[in-house]
Amino acid sequence: MAVRIQEAAFGAGAELDRFTADAPGAGAVVSFTGVVRDVDGGLRHMLIEHYPGMTERAITALVSEAVARWNLTDALVIHRFGQLAPGDPIMMVATASAHRADAFAAADFLMDYLKSRAPFWKKEVTADGADWVAAKDADEAALNRW
């Protein structure tokens, strides 16, 4: 299991290849990559702030919960902070399991909780100025699925 909170860019393909190579016994690997979306009017960049210490702690707790609930052989969460450009990968979740159902469910669970329980805040900077991205009610509601 690994949790990496980093400012540096990462290559989702290379990370997935490495994760898969290190997952012997897994018949299923599921991954999700979140990418900086462009906005109307053009996004200059996205600034991601986080709470060092709590971020690692909160995500590690989520990964532990996923491991307790599903039959996983491995799990990986990478999340960036700092300044990102449109098209940059923001974060990535990968799960490995003997069978796909557990890998899909655990990845879905991790994504839902990362959205509204990992202490990150996104600010979009456009030609018109800068705005904090508001949390969506739907993201909070999604937690009830679990």
């Binding site: 979140g34 509204s116 805040w121």
Partner: protein
């Protein structure tokens, strides 16, 4: 006690962290104490339903007691992922 502010809470208050002496019993008491100090706090805490609070890096609510707490953090709802 260390108090940390993130995102627009940090911007409205004008600093990322500060250390204060307080006798506040709960988070809500601390918020009331800060709001009484200066307008910028009152502006940031105008609607606490729009805010979240963590005590020693664990998410909690505004009724939580502060006894033994070293670090309080205030921030808007999180937008990870």
């Amino acid at each position: 006690m260390d108090i940390l502010y993130f995102a627009w809470v940090r911007e409205r208050i004008g600093l990322p962290r500060e250390t204060i002496q307080t006798e506040a019993a709960t988070v809500a008491d601390l918020v009331a104490e800060l709001c009484a100090r200066e307008d910028r706090y009152a502006v940031a805490f105008a609607d606490i339903t729009a805010l979240r609070v963590a005590l020693d890096q664990e998410l909690t609510d505004f009724d939580a007691p502060l006894a033994g707490v070293r670090e309080v953090a205030f921030f808007p709802p999180m937008t990870g992922g």
